[in-house]
Structures are given as C-alpha cells and as structure tokens.
Amino acid sequence: MSDELNLENAEERIGVYICHCGTNIAGTVDVAEVREWAEKRLKSRGVVLARDYKFMCSSLGQELIEKDITENRLTRVVVAACSPHLHENTFRTACKRAGLNPYLCELVSIREQVSWVHTDKHAATDKAKAVLSGGVERVRHHQPLEPLRVPIHPATLVVGGGIAGIQTALEIADAGRRVYLVEREPSIGGHMSQFDKTFPTLDCSACILTPKMVSAGMHPNITLMTWSEVTKVDGYVGNFAVTIKQKARCVKTDLCTGCGICQEKCPKKVIDEVYEAGLGYRKAVYTPFPQAVPKFPVIDKPNCTYFQKGTCKACEKFCPTNAIDFNQQDELITVEVGNIVLATGYDLFDARRIPHYGYGRLANVFTSLEFERLTNAAGPTNGNIVLRDGKTTPKVVGIVHCVGSRDRNYNNYCSAICCMQSLKFAHLVKERTGATVYNFYIDMRTAAKAYDEFYQRVLEEGTLFVRGRVAEVTDAARLPGEEGKLIIQVEDTLAGKQRRIPVDMVVLSAGLQSRHDSKEVAKLFGISCSADAWFIEKHPKLDPVSTMTDGVFIAGCCTGPKDIPNSVSQGAAAAARVLTYIDRGEITLEPVRASINEMKCSGCRICNNLCPFNAILFHADRMVSEVNAALCQGCGTCVAACPAGAISGTGFSNEQIMSQIEGLLLLNLNGAREKELAYA
C-alpha cells in the first residue's frame, strides 16, 4: 500500500520533534524509540529528520526547530508534545521566525492523550507512534494560511451590577471607554448593598459601596441599564451585537426626581423577597433602598393594584412631576460591543431544603441574608437584632456554619465566606445585644489577610465555639430548660459528647450557589458551566477571568464563592483584559474558516439556520450558500451538517482528517507486520 502513497507530496521535507517534557512524557513513553521509529518508518512519508529533546518549549528547543528549518530546508514541522491548547502558539511562532508559514506546523499531544493516561510503557510508546504518524500524514495536507484580523469595537457590556460588575465598569469607564452596565433589579449594588458590616474590618458596607454606586451612576462613560436583561447575543469577539430587554419601569426617568412620594402613597404593601430577603416590606412602586442607583422607582406590575384591578393610580395622582406612565412597554435595545464581562453573582442556598434545621417552620430560625437585614440600620428593624415577633431581644443565639455546603447531599464544596461571615455575626450579636453566642463549625477557615486576627478577636469577646456540625434544630423540648426554646442538637466533637443547647435564635450560614438560571445565561453567552453550574474559567489558576469564548470574561461570584476583596480584584482584572483588547484595536483570529464549494452546494439551506454566528448567506439567484469569513468562527457545525459534503473547514478539511486517521491506522498495520516478522 505504501508504494502508492509514496508518490504524492514526495517533495515535502518534514521535521519531527518529540518532547520529553521532563519525565512527564519520557517517564511513560520511550521517546528515543519513537524517534528512531519515526526516522526509519516515516522516511517514506517525507520525514527527513526526527529529534527528541528534554523540553521542546524551551528557547533552546524552539531554536532547534528554527535552525532545522533554515539548514535542512524543512517544509513541514510536527511536534509531539503536550496539548495544542498550551504550546501550539509557541511552535507556530518558532516556525514563523524561521520563515515557515506557522500553519504548516502541527502539534500532536502525546502527554494528555498518551503518557498521562497510560501506565503500560510499551503500549504507550506504540500509541505515541500512532499519534505521531497521524500528525505526519495530516501535516502533508496543510496549507499556508494567513490569520484574519478584525477590529475591536471599543464599547463593553458588563452584565450584573454587584460589586464585581461595578468595579469592572468603573475601571473601563475611567480608561475612557464606553460601558453598558446591565442589571436585572431596579438598582445596582447587588448582595453587598444588603449587608450592614463587612468582615474583617467591620466597615459599614453602604459607606464603602455607595460611593462606587454613585460613580457608576454618574459616570459619563457608563450607560446604566437597570430593570433590564440580556436576551440575545450575536457576533463574536470584537463585534458583538447584544439585545437587551429593558423592562417597562412605568416611570419616566426624564421627569422623575426620585422624591419618593409615589412609594409613600402606594397602598399596596408587598413582602420584599429580594432586597429584604423576605424579612421586610416594600410597596408595589419602589426603589429597593434609599441609596438606590438609579434613584428612579419601578412599578412591580404583578403586585400593582392598578395593573391587577384597573383602579388605584395613587402614584400617578400624587407624583408632583407627572412621571408615572402606566403605558410604558418593555423595550428591546441592541448595542454593539467588543467585549462582554459577566458578573452575575450568586444565589443563597435555600435553607428550606434541610428540613431538620427548621427554616420556614420554626419562626426564630433565620438565614444569613435575613440576619444581614436584621442588623442593617436601614433594614426592617432599624438594625435591632430581635426575634421574629419584631420586639424580643434574644438572650442566646446559635450560629450554624456550613448550611448546605461541604455536604454531598446539597453542595459538595466550601462556600468560602461563611466562617468569616459567622464570626462577623457573632461579633454583632455580642456588641448589640450582649447575648451569649454559640458558633457551630466543622473547620474554621480564616485564610486571608487579617481574617484569623478577627477570629481571635471574636474568641476574646467570649463567643462560644462548638466544633461539630449541627444535627438538628428542634422545638421539641425534652429536658428542663428547653421549653419555649429552640434546641440545637450537636455532637461537641472536641468533648466527644452529644449536646443539646437551648437558644432563642438560630442563624443559618447558608452557602453560596450558582444563580438559578446560570446554565441558561452560560448558553446565551456561549460559555460553559461546571457541574455545580458555576461559570468555568479558561484556566483556573492562570487565566481565572477569561472563558474559552474569546471576548467573554467572568468576574466575581459567578465563577464560584468569593469574598468582597476577591470579587473586586476579579472585576478589575477582567477590566484590564478588556482594555488590552480595546487598546490593541484589532484582534487576530485563527484562519480556521468554513468554505462552500458552490459546485457541490445544492442550495438546501440546512446550514443557514444551524450557523450559531449567522455567518452563512444564501444567494437566491444562484441557489447557493456562502460563508462570510469575517463572521465564521470555524466551529464546524455546517461542515458536519451539509448533506452534499460541499462545505469544508480550513485546517480541518476532509483530506486532513482522513489522512490523519489513515496515519493512525498505518502504524497498526505496520506494527502487526513488525510483530509477525519478529516471530518469524
């Protein structure tokens, strides 16, 4: 069979390089054997030289390739090393430096796909040969390509107006670039605006947050779009077209002065499930809190008497500037942006899911977010820590850590902030009520600047710590002194004894979990989610604010539980990444594109609607489809779908794929033959 193959592309001069990657590859694959084999067996396939080297990615390794290209007139290069994900660019650039078109270089993975996943050295070496052979066959069909350059639109979309999103928006806007800041709720501020104090320094949350909110609201470069949600994302890095649904506020923002008379006069009181965490009330026309940005209220239609029954209009009657407009409609607005930052935050774990902790059943069991509202001076109790009756000050308070976290039945991860938050609560209870405070914990996790010192301080203040995960909270009194109390049953693991501790109030430090709709949001923006539905970073350590989708960045708790300092850092980091792109002005795109052979195209239009990037046009006059190279992202959907086989992807042509497979199989045939020979 090989005689036939020998004839084509005989003029190619291919160089093969096998990386040891220290012992990462060489520990499992006999690299010398692979090299010898390639020299001998792949000679007929155009391989003129093969080398193995300790670290191909080192400067010396790269220089080796460059030298060979010049001195040995190589026309193709195959590097067998790690995943193309990591070093494809390194070796392509090396080729380019030596004057070879970078797309004539092929990187095959013998680390992720061979040495790291096998233990049998012999078999691993054989597989490395097969993978290499596939690369050699494939590279023979490579074409020299030129990367595409597209301009970057200088505006940015930031989704989510919590602290991370505000930080991103401000950084970019301060650099002189336009930002659209989209927020689902009537005001920006996010969870941080619900807190009273922030750990470990106990700064007033509002005092440090509201200046940033005001800046974001007033900034000439920030277009604030609250009460709004993104509904559609088209385009690609540098050139996104984003459709945003601006829900009808029913308030004319050009007339409204934010005086608050409408809220005062509105007769409809509603439990505020969002901002007050269900612990307080708002009106049907409302701003969630006094420092809201923007200052304009919204009318909550499902709860508004006028919208439900057709009468009332108290707000309209009393508004001094005639700013109420019941006829406002939802509006779809499309903006063009070059980059997108998602900072969509988290949801609190629903403590009702653990029935034996009694939340929702036992009045004086509170969630952490409810407790934040309880301690907040602007909250429903003006900052008084009282029981659900609204007046009694508790004498004993139990704070339960790890509610819904570190538990395979619920969320099997540590929510990172609950230990510190619980310590903060303990401090606040002590300070404001003098009550006895118990903290129930599994492990105390206070690993950040000044965090452990805060733990020391709370210990000093006399908070009692019980190491044990709370088994249940009950009102079923059993022993004297338990009547009328909530009883926390727990094993004090350090004392080795089961204890029942009667308290007046229980605070559940509920964990953080991904937004209930994070999977849909991820799909909307074309990024991926972990099993826990957190957004996935491009690299968890080295690229924590990027995603696998170019031009879409992530910051804050949408990637996993985080405290405020970390959320702010990520917000700023995402802004820096965006600004780098904007500053560069254009972006180089992989020239991996689909193209349609008009002779083969039957005009069936199947590909037209499948294209996720709307890159395929249909010429009705000629009955053929055509790919717009600037829009095509090279995803390959159309290639696979075309019934006529008329579409092929640059860099992934049928020829390239088929010959790579042939290469893989060729080795098996040869290998078998080799064995036969050996036995003969």
Partner: protein, 339 residues
C-alpha cells in the same frame, strides 16, 4: 392490579390488625395481594449483627421465592420495568428486602456467596428482579389520592391525626422511597384525603426505640416519651403509623412509659390502613380495632358523634398572617399548615 405480598412475622399475630385492615382496604380499592408462599422471617435488625452472609441468605430465600413465584411467570405482577412487585407493609421487612436486593446488585462477592448458600436449598436469586415496595408508597403512587378519595364514604371529620413514619421506610435512601428522608408528607396527604385533620408532628420520622425496649428499656422509654409528648403537644387524637414495630412500642409500652416518667399519655396508635377502612365505611371490628392496648374508643366516638358534619369538608386553617412582627419565610405548603 396484582402484587406479591410479604406480610412478615409481625403481621401474623401481634400486628394482625395491620394485616386485616390491609386486606380489607385492598378489597375496597380493588387491588389483589398475592401472598408469597412459605416466606420466612427477614431477620429484623438482628441477624445482620451476628452473621452477614447468613442474614443475606435468609433474606435471599424470600427474594428467590418471590422471583420464582411472581417473576418467572409474570401473571400480572410485573412493574413497567419488568421487575416483579413485592409489597411489604412492615418497614423493617421492607428495608431488609430492599437493601439486600440493592447490596446484592452492588457487591459481586456478596451476590456470589449468597447464591452459593441459596443453592444448598435449591434456590437462586438474580438481584434486580424483585421490586420491593412499601404498602404506603404503593397506595400513594399506584392507587393515588383521587382514587382513595372516591371510596371515602365516611370522612374522618374532626379527628386530629399525627402522622408517624418512623425510620425504616424513609431511611436510608436507596431510591424509590417517599418524598423526603426527614419530612415526608405522603401520609399527611393521605390522611387528609380521608377527611381527617392533620396536625403538625415535628418528630414524625424520629425513632420509636426499635429493639431497645428489649435491650435497654430506659433508652427506649425516653424515645417513646418524646414522640408521645410531641404528638400530645400538638393535640393529636391518634397517632397513625405504617410500621408494626412503631405501633408496638408506642402502644404496648405507653403504660410503662407513663409509670416510668409519671406522665399520663393516652394516645391510641393506629395503622393507616385502619383509618382508611373507617373512612371507606367499613366496620371497626373488620379492621382489627380492639387489638390496640391503648383503646381507640374515644377516637371512634369522636368521628361517629358528628354524622351531620360528615359531608362538610375538613376545615382548612391557613397560616395566620400576623400583623406585627417580621414575615415568615414562604413555604410551599403554607396553606396547609395547621396553626
């Protein structure tokens, strides 16, 4: 509908009321209970403490017999997935049979050696062929509340019922049990369907003491006391149960508990099938009433005293919206909670 039926040792005598009322309810609802021939004891919670393989072989004999009798020829006993259905009214039997089937599937060594032992008696069991179900779960899911309601002729209006599940039906979770391991609601829904008034019973899945009444009575008495006290606090007229062990401990030891703690609990402990039978208009005598140690006489009088109210729906008591104080969290069953 046709099901294999594994009554278990308790239902032969000490929990005969459960067996009698189960068969009566089955006749009314029109499903057939086909008793497993020559079944043996499931080993309760005892055999596994002595000898693992013997315990699994003991249970395995029942499963093997069920496979022979109900799976081999089908005969209308099969579930949609092809498994033969075996109904156990006793929670301990249910758990032992269900768990053995599960672990025999998971643990190849245990499966092989168990079958080696079974072979000595000429039997063989293929794990996964018998679908063990508890009577309550079957009635709720297969018969359904609507069908039950259709047969209610004498609603139990005014009777305040504490629904007690105990442990072994809801825990451990092996798949296919009730809605929750700690706060299931099926028994309440069923009781409500019968027209009775459901009281909150926070300890509804707490332990009745199990075999502790035999081994360390004081430990058991305390567990029993907690349950009786909790149900009394919520002003229950009766506790309804789904397990013979729970019934026995709460009923037969109630006097002893009263002596031990100086209390005066007087709570009849009934099987849910007995309440179903009453609501279906069956005679108490035909449902095993009179076998309970703590007499259910008062409860019966309470229902029968108000025949004119029989047609009226049970009063629903929405959670009180307090004007003062902070709002309570929203709960899915808000409207149903009794104050």
């Amino acid at each position: 509908m046709k099901y294999g039926y594994y009554p278990g040792c308790s239902l032969e005598r000490n929990a005969a009321a459960y067996d009698i009322s189960t068969r009566a309810v089955a006749r009314t609802l029109g499903f057939e209970l086909d008793e497993l021939d020559d079944w043996n004891c499931c080993g309760a919670t005892e055999y596994i403490a002595i000898n693992k393989l013997a315990a699994y072989s003991l249970i395995g004999r029942n499963l093997a017999l069920a496979q022979q009798q109900f799976h081999a020829n089908g005969n209308g006993h099969l579930a949609a997935d092809g498994r033969a259905q075996l109904i156990a009214p006793c929670s301990a039997c249910f758990l032992n049979l269900r768990k053995a089937d599960r672990y025999l599937q998971e643990d190849a060594k245990l499966r092989d050696t168990t079958n080696e032992a079974l072979a000595a008696g000429g039997l063989h069991y293929d794990p996964g062929t018998v679908f063990v179900r508890h009577l309550l779960e079957m009635i709720v899911n297969d018969v359904g509340y609507d069908e039950v309601k259709r047969h209610v002729t004498k609603p139990l209006n005014g009777l305040r019922v504490a629904s007690y599940y105990g442990c072994l039906l809801v825990r451990p979770r092996l798949g296919g049990e009730l809605s929750d391991a700690e706060y299931p609601t099926e028994l309440e829904s069923l009781t409500k369907t019968l027209g009775a008034e459901v009281v909150d019973f926070p300890l509804k899945t707490h332990c009745c003491g199990g075999h502790m009444t035999q081994i360390s009575a004081e430990v058991a008495y305390e567990l029993i006391r907690r349950l009786l006290q909790n149900a009394t606090e919520y002003r229950a007229d009766v506790i309804v149960t789904i397990c013979p062990m729970c019934q026995l401990n709460l009923d037969a030891y109630q006097t002893r508990v009263n002596q031990h703690f100086g209390t005066n609990f007087n709570l009849p402990i009934l099987y849910f099938t007995q309440l179903m039978g009453l609501a279906f208009g069956l005679e108490p005598k035909t449902l095993g009433f009179g076998k309970e140690i703590v007499s259910a006489e008062n409860a019966l009088i309470k229902i029968q005293r108000s025949p004119e109210s029989a047609a009226a729906p049970a009063p629903s008591r929405p959670r009180k919206k307090k004007e003062e104080g902070l709002p309570m969290p929203r709960m899915p069953e808000d409207e149903e909670v009794t104050a």
